[in-house]
Amino acid sequence: MAEATVRSVPLDRARILQWLQTYGVYAGVALLLVVNIVITPHFLSAENFRTQAVQVAPVIIVALGMALVIGTEGVDLSVGAVMALAASVTALYLGYGLLPALLVVAVFAAGVGLANGALVAFVGVQPIVATLALMVGGRGLALVLLPQLEDLRNPALASLGSGDVLGVPYLILIATVLALLVAFVVRRTTFGRQLLAIGDSRPAAQLAGLPVRRVLIVVYVVCALLAAVAGVLATARLQASDPTSLGNLMELSAITAVVVGGTPLTGGRVNIAGTVAGAVLIQLLTATLIKHDLPPSWTQIAQAIVIVCAVYAARGRGKR
């Protein structure tokens, strides 16, 4: 992106790429913040940052799970469908109260994750194919369960979507806690290390006696659960369950956030801070273009440029 042209000093190209890969996403966020503070009216307000954070929170939560899956050299295309499923199951069981409904949501999401994981780990289906099946089937099931949008008036759900603690919305709190938790798991637990090893070299991990299948299944279940959390939160915010359009193209947003954040698609590395920043980068980019009322197609083009830049930066690493 822009920082590449700004720093056109003929440094070692590899080193620029390295720098871009590690810090490019943060630089991009910083750049967009500065640009917006200068050119966008009313940008520098708590209210605005709150809006951006609330909007990006579900994307971040889904991207966390996606980052784990990508860390194992996989991909999960079913996250959007799981969000829709979470939305329709929430609506279906809300009569029992919020907590029981959430438990049922968790069961459904875990079921999808289990199916994904089993297909990948035991049957040996390529992750992209396995999760594609669940992407189609998951949304289908969501629509069978709840064929059309339904308004929800449960006060507990409503406060989950719009309430706050000391001015910080629950959505932001939840996303923050989950991000810290996932980062901790990746860095400090046996599971996290095993996940990275499996993503980096599956044969080596197998010969080292790691529980490869178990780790893969757990990763896909966690990813589905995170997507379900995002689905419930988005539903709570909307105060309506909309399985038709909720989570549409979410898999792409999540993959974009992960890749832009410097996690290579080849697995073996997971950058959680970068993933969060990647989601924020895309959010700010979209917000900037919307606030300046530029045509929506520009947003897509801008996203495409960011992805190309991220992949270009990642290429330098992949070659080594």
Partner: protein
């Protein structure tokens, strides 16, 4: 009750099974029952003990509740073309003894499609006509084969809600061979009226945009800045509703400026997100024109979330779904322009007139209602 709704929705899962298994005919035959059984099992387990919020109170009113909610024809303009059975070819039949085939384009997952299909079914039942229905699940190739199926099953008359305007030649030829009259509803097909099909019945989307503009001018006093939440890009409904709105604003209220046009993809969540950005960056905005109810309701959610009060920002939407009309009652929405989905009475009326050998118009524009603070409460039952 959800359990009661099940059988009709199971059909959509069958389709999913089939689309996933488009390999060979044999695997299709095999996959279908398996997938149906599996999804039925999951769906049954899931719904058998489900309890949604609505279950406690009385269920939603039947979508065809209001008897007088049928469509009226806008008086045809003088000189507009008409069609008779002699000009079209074919022979007179008695509608009562005929079989009518109805091909729906999208799955009944939004209020408009649900009300549309229901209206056709209700009218057929009311008139005692045998009705065959099919749903293309938003796949055009399926719609073509659906219609061919309907013809093969012996439909004498066809009502089609087309997914696309183009690509209908194979169907039209098959229908022409059997001299089956076709009425298309809500979207036109690119073919010759009174030769390839009889009549086209639909709303005038440009007119809907104009009427929305009228409501907006009234609500805002014709001054200030307004925003448009566009529908999906590349959709004719989006273009026409935008065109009518802008035309009328330019013509009647030059002081009203459209300062913001962003797509909400006809979805509530997107409408919410875009509106949140809008009220951040343009706090002085006076009104929001949402090109469908869902985006309008998303805008309402955004305004509520930002701590605005009902009526602070005027919202005008198009469609006339129940939720939106309730929004008018509650004061959050200033006006809803109806896009009437109840094509049943008008479609059957047209077919009846036509098969009796009388003249019918080629283009039938149906009259859409409107809801505002004055009538919303009493007309809530009309909303779908």
């Amino acid at each position: 009750m959800h359990v009661l709704r099940l059988p009709s929705h199971l059909f959509s899962v069958t389709r999913i099974g089939v689309t996933m298994q488009r390999t060979t005919h044999r695997s299709r035959l095999l996959a279908r029952p398996v997938v149906v059984a599996l999804s039925a099992a999951v769906a049954l387990t899931a719904t058998s003990c489900a309890k949604s919020e609505d279950d406690a109170s009385d269920s939603k009113p039947s979508s065809a509740a209001a008897a007088d909610a049928g469509q009226k024809v806008v008086t045809p303009k003088p000189g507009s073309k008409s069609c008779t059975i002699d000009a079209y070819g074919g022979k007179k039949i008695d509608l009562k003894s005929a079989t009518v085939g109805f091909s729906q384009s999208e799955k009944e997952a939004n209020p408009f499609r649900i009300a549309e299909t229901q209206s056709i079914k209700d009218e057929a039942a009311k008139r005692g006509v045998k009705l065959l229905t099919a749903n293309a699940q938003s796949q055009f190739s399926k719609q073509i084969s659906d219609v061919q199926d309907l013809l093969a099953k012996g439909a004498d008359l066809l009502v089609i809600a087309p997914l696309n305007s183009d690509g209908w030649d194979p169907v039209l030829q098959a229908a022409a061979a059997k001299k089956v009259p076709i009425v298309t509803i809500d979207r036109k097909i690119n073919a010759t009226a009174c030769k390839d099909y009889v009549s086209f019945i639909a709303s005038d989307f440009v007119e809907q945009g104009r009427r929305a503009a009228d409501r907006m001018i009234e609500a805002t006093g014709g001054k200030g800045e307004v925003a448009i939440l566009l529908g999906s890009a590349g959709n004719n409904v989006t273009t026409e509703r935008t065109k009518g709105f802008k035309e009328r604003i330019a013509e009647k209220a030059p002081d009203l400026k459209v300062v913001f046009e962003q797509t909400g993809d006809f979805a509530r969540e997107k409408g919410q997100q875009v509106t949140e950005q809008l009220i951040q960056s343009k706090p002085g905005i006076k009104g929001i024109y949402a090109e469908n109810d869902e985006m309008g309701l998303g805008a309402v959610a955004a305004l509520k979330g930002a701590g605005k009060k009902a009526g602070d920002i005027k919202i005008v939407t198009v469609d006339g779904t129940r939720n939106a009309v309730q929004g008018v009652v509650d004061g959050w929405i200033s006006g809803v322009i109806e896009s009437n989905p109840r094509f049943g009475p008008l479609a059957f009326q047209t077919l009846d007139t036509f098969t009796q050998g009388k003249e019918v118009p080629q283009d039938i524009v149906i009259q859409d209602g409107a809801y505002d603070a004055g009538n919303a409460e009493q007309d809530l039952g009309k909303a779908y």
